[in-house]
C-alpha cells in the first residue's frame, strides 16, 4: 500500500514538557516531541542495529577504538543553514557534555574528536567501548546547530535554547502552553517525499481520565504507554479500528525494581533480602497491578536484553512460608502484634499504579511480619530521599538503554553511590568483584568474552540480591489502525515519524 500524503496526527504528550529543545531536555515528553525535530547520527532497529540518519555510513576500526562517520550531504537546518561536521563536533565536544550528564560521562572515554572535512567525523576512544554506538541515537546524541550558539558561553541557561532549530522532518509550529504543541512538515527534509504528514499535534491533558477520554472520543490517534492507566488499555484497544502494539521500547527497555538500602539494618543481611523476595508475588503484581503488561524478572538482565543468561539466575518464587523461615533463622522473631521489624517504604510517585504496587508490597510484607510504613512524598521529595539514601525500601525503575555498559553498570558500581541521581547505586551495594566485572566487560570488544563476563555478573547479582527486580515493564501503545508505520524501529514513539502516514 502506497503511503498517502497529508493529514494531521494527533498525539498526547504527558506531562507537558518543560522544553522541546532535545539537546537540553532529555525527559520522556521532551524526547517524544523533540525527536521529530532533531536527529541523531543514527537510529536503531528493533534488534538495536544502527540505521543511518544524519550519518550515511560509518566504520569502526578493528581494535574498536576509532569510529569514523560519513555524514549525509545536502542536509539543511530548519533555518536554511547547511548541516556539516562542525555541528557534530560542536554537539559532542561543547554542547552535550554541559547539558547531559550521560554524554559527559561517556565523553570521558573519548581521546579526540576531529572533522577531517565537512562530511566526516572521527571519534577516537582511549580504550575500546563496544556500547559506544548507542550514544548516537537522537536522544542521547542530539545534533545541535552550531551556528546559533556562536558567542554563547553558558549552554545550559542561554536564551538561544528557546530557538528550536533541528534537521528533522518536522519543524516547530506553535506551542500553546497548557493546550498543545503543533509541529509542521519540514518541506525541505533531506529525504525527498517525506514526511507524509502535514502536522503533528501533541495535546496536553493533565488528567489520566481526560486522556483516556481524549482517545476514546477520537480527539487523538495514539496514546503512549503511561498516558492512561494500564487497566484502561484493554478496553481502549478493544474498540473497532484500534490496534495495540508492545513494540518500540527495545532501546529503553524499562525494568521495575525495589531498591533496598543495604546500609540500613537488617537490609544488609542477604537472608532478609531473600525473605522480602519470597514474600512478594511477582505474578500478582504483573496481573493485577500492571494489568498483565509486564514479565517477571529474576536478575539484572531482563528477557530480550543483551547478554542475558537466565540459566545462572537464582530464582525467588513467591513463598511466604520460606520468607518467614528465613526471618526466623535470622533471629527476627515476631513480637506480640506479629511485627518482627519495621521498615519505611518509599513509593514511586508516578501515578496510581506505582502507589498501588507500594500498597500491595506493604500488605505482603506485613503478612510475613515486616511492618512496613509507606512514606508518601511528591516527586522532588522522592528524588531527594532516594538519591541521598534516606529510605529503607524504594520502588524505582530504570531504562536499560540497549547495552549493560550504559544501562546496568551505574546501578551496581560501588563508586557510583549517593547524590548521583536515582539510577545510581543508591542501595550502597559494595562488591569489588562486581565492580571489576563491570569495568572489564565495558571495554571487552569480543562479544563472546563479554557475554561470559556478564554471565558471571548476573550469577553474582541474582545471588546477592542487592536489588529486588520485580518485573520488566511492557509498554503498550494504543493507536488507530489508520495510522500507518507508527512504530517501526527500536526507538518506538521517539522515532522521527518521517514514515508515518494516515490511511483514509
Amino acid at each position: 500500500q502506497a503511503p498517502r500524503a497529508g493529514g494531521s496526527l494527533n498525539l498526547i504528550v504527558n506531562p507537558e514538557p518543560p522544553g522541546i529543545n532535545l539537546g537540553l531536555a532529555k525527559l520522556g515528553p521532551s524526547s517524544f516531541v523533540g525527536s521529530k525535530i532533531y536527529e541523531g547520527l543514527i537510529s536503531l532497529t528493533p534488534k538495536l542495529e544502527p540505521i543511518p540518519r544524519l550519518a550515511q555510513s560509518w566504520t569502526i576500526s578493528p581494535d574498536g577504538k576509532v569510529y569514523t562517520f560519513k555524514l549525509r550531504p545536502g542536509v539543511k537546518w530548519h533555518d536554511g543553514k547547511p548541516f556539516t561536521s562542525a555541528d557534530v563536533l560542536f554537539s559532542f565536544k561543547d554542547y552535550l557534555p554541559v547539558t547531559f550528564a550521560r554524554t559527559k560521562l561517556i565523553m570521558e572515554q573519548v581521546a579526540s574528536i576531529v572533522a577531517p572535512d565537512d562530511l566526516t567525523v572521527v571519534f577516537t576512544l582511549k580504550q575500546p567501548y563496544p556500547a559506544f554506538m548507542y550514544i548516537f541515537e537522537v536522544v542521547g546524541g542530539t545534533i545541535m546547530p552550531k551556528h546559533l550558539y556562536e558567542g554563547v558561553t553558558d549552554y545550559r541557561t542561554t536564551q538561544v535554547n528557546n530557538t528550536i532549530v533541528g534537521t528533522g522532518p518536522f519543524k516547530m509550529g506553535e506551542w500553546r502552553r497548557g493546550s498543545f504543541i503543533k509541529l509542521v512538515k519540514n518541506t525541505d527534509y533531506w529525504e525527498k517525499g517525506k514526511p507524509h504528514l502535514d502536522n503533528l499535534f501533541f495535546h496536553i491533558v493533565p488528567d489520566a481520565v481526560g486522556r483516556s477520554i481524549a482517545f476514546e472520543s477520537g480527539k487523538v490517534d495514539a496514546i503512549r504507554a503511561g498516558d492512561v492507566e494500564n487497566f484502561e488499555i484493554a478496553r481502549l484497544a478493544a474498540a473497532p479500528g484500534v490496534s495495540l502494539t508492545k513494540a518500540g521500547w527495545e532501546f529503553l527497555q524499562p525494568v521495575g525494581f525495589l531498591n533496598m538500602n543495604l546500609r540500613n539494618k537488617p537490609l544488609g543481611d542477604l537472608r532478609f533480602r531473600q525473605a522480602i523476595a519470597h514474600a512478594i508475588d511477582r505474578n500478582f503484581i504483573i496481573k493485577n497491578i500492571f494489568s498483565t503488561f509486564g514479565e517477571p524478572v529474576h536478575g539484572a538482565f531482563p528477557p530480550g536484553y543483551a547478554f542475558r543468561d537466565a540459566s545462572v539466575e537464582t530464582k525467588y518464587p513467591y513463598d511466604p512460608a520460606r520468607a518467614k523461615a528465613l526471618l526466623d533463622e535470622m533471629g527476627l522473631k515476631p513480637g506480640a502484634d506479629g511485627t518482627r521489624v519495621s521498615l519505611r517504604l518509599l513509593p514511586l510517585p508516578y501515578g496510581e499504579t506505582w502507589q498501588r504496587l507500594a500498597e500491595y508490597t506493604r500488605e505482603r510484607l506485613n503478612a510475613v511480619g515486616i511492618k512496613t510504613t509507606i512514606v508518601a512524598t511528591d516527586v522532588p521529595g522522592w528524588f531527594s530521599r532516594a538519591s541521598s539514601g534516606d529510605f529503607d525500601l524504594a520502588y524505582n525503575f530504570v531504562y536499560l538503554l540497549g547495552d549493560p555498559a550504559i544501562g546496568v553498570s551505574q546501578t551496581y558500581l560501588s563508586t557510583n553511590q549517593l547524590n548521583r541521581g536515582t539510577a545510581a547505586n543508591i542501595d550502597g551495594y559494595v562488591n569489588k568483584e562486581v565492580d571489576a566485572l563491570l569495568i572489564k566487560a565495558e571495554q571487552e570488544t569480543n562479544k563472546a568474552e563479554r557475554a561470559k563476563l556478564y554471565s558471571q555478573l548476573q550469577k553474582t547479582l541474582s545471588r546477592e540480591l542487592p536489588i529486588l527486580w520485580t518485573h520488566q515493564m511492557i509498554m503498550p501503545t494504543v493507536y488507530r489502525t489508520k495510522v500507518k508505520n507508527l512504530i517501526t524501529t527500536g526507538q518506538g514513539m521517539n522515532e522521527n515519524f518521517a514514515d508515518v502516514w494516515l490511511d483514509k
Partner: protein, 277 residues
C-alpha cells in the same frame, strides 16, 4: 441545651442532618466491629462489582473490600475533618477574641496577619504545606487548619467587637473582673453559637479539602480515608466507577448532613426565630 435539641429536631433540615450524621458516625464507630481487621488487606478477587456476594460495594484493583474501606475511611475522614476544624477554630477563636476585645494596634496587627493568610490562595498554600511536610495525616490536618482559621478569626472578632460594647461587659469591668476572665467567661460563651455553626460547615469543607488534596495525589497512603479512596479510584472512573462513586457518595452524605445540621443550628440559635421557619 435540651431546648436547643428539641428546636433543632423540630426542623426538617435538623432531622435530616442529624440522621445522616448519626448514621455515618455509627458506621465510623462500628467499623472495627463491622469489618474487623485491616481494611487494606486483599481479601477477594480484584474488581468485583457492587452487590457481589459478600462484598456489597465490590472490591478494588487489589481485591480490597470497598465496604470495609468506606467504613474505616469514615473514621479517618471524620477525624481529619474534626481535628482540622478544631485546629482552625482554636487558633481563629483566640486570635479573633484578642483582636476584637483588645482593639487598637493589637487588632490592627492581628487583622493584617489574618489578611496575609487570606490573600494567599488557600488551596495552593495547603498543597505547598503538604508537599513540604510530606503527605501525611498530620500535614493534611495542619494545612487545612492553617487555611481555615482566618475566617473563624474574622467571625469571632466581629462578634467580640459587638459584644464588648454590650452593657454586661461593662458590668463585669465595673465588678473588677480581669480582661482574661471577661474574654473567656463573659464574652466567649456568647459567641459560641456562631462558632458552632461555622465549625459544622467548616468540618464539611475540611472533608472536601482532604479529598481534593488526595485527588491531586498528595493523600496519606497509610490511612484509608474517603478522599484517598476517591483519589485512588478516580482513574478507574470509566472502568470501575464504584471505586470512586461510593466514597464520593459517603462524602456527599456527610457534607450534606453537616450543612443541614449547620443550617438547622443557625436557625435554632438565632434570636430572630419568629416568622420564617
Amino acid at each position: 441545651m435540651k431546648d436547643l435539641l428539641s428546636r433543632l429536631l423540630r426542623q426538617p433540615a435538623g432531622i435530616a442532618g442529624a440522621t445522616m450524621l448519626a448514621f455515618i458516625m455509627l458506621v465510623a464507630v462500628g467499623a472495627h466491629w463491622l469489618y474487623p481487621g485491616d481494611p487494606w488487606s486483599m481479601v477477594a478477587d480484584p474488581n468485583l462489582p457492587p452487590f457481589s456476594p459478600g462484598y456489597p460495594f465490590g472490591t478494588d484493583m487489589l481485591g480490597r473490600d470497598v465496604a470495609a474501606g468506606v467504613a474505616h475511611g469514615a473514621r479517618v475522614s471524620l477525624l481529619i475533618g474534626f481535628v482540622a476544624t478544631l485546629v482552625a477554630v482554636s487558633v481563629g477563636t483566640v486570635l479573633g477574641a484578642v483582636a476584637g476585645y483588645h482593639g487598637g494596634w493589637v487588632d490592627d496587627s492581628i487583622m493584617r496577619f489574618t489578611e496575609i493568610f487570606q490573600t494567599i490562595p488557600g488551596f495552593l498554600l495547603a498543597l505547598l504545606m503538604v508537599a513540604i511536610f510530606g503527605p501525611s495525616m498530620y500535614s493534611i490536618v495542619g494545612a487545612i487548619g492553617v487555611i481555615s482559621w482566618p475566617s473563624v478569626a474574622r467571625l469571632v472578632r466581629a462578634e467580640f467587637l459587638s459584644l464588648r460594647t454590650r452593657d454586661f461587659v461593662k458590668a463585669a469591668v465595673l465588678g473588677g473582673q480581669s480582661d482574661l476572665r471577661i474574654v473567656f467567661r463573659q464574652i466567649l460563651p456568647n459567641t459560641l453559637s456562631p462558632i458552632v455553626v461555622a465549625a459544622s460547615l467548616m468540618m464539611a469543607t475540611a472533608i472536601l479539602l482532604e479529598s481534593a488534596i488526595s485527588f491531586l495525589g498528595l493523600g496519606d497512603r497509610s490511612m484509608i480515608s474517603w478522599g484517598f479512596m476517591i483519589g485512588a479510584g478516580r482513574t478507574t472512573l470509566l472502568q470501575s466507577w464504584w471505586l470512586s462513586a461510593i466514597p464520593g457518595a459517603a462524602i456527599f452524605v456527610t457534607v450534606l448532613g453537616l450543612n443541614f445540621l449547620g443550617d438547622a443550628l443557625n436557625h435554632a440559635l438565632s434570636p430572630r426565630r419568629r416568622g420564617h421557619s
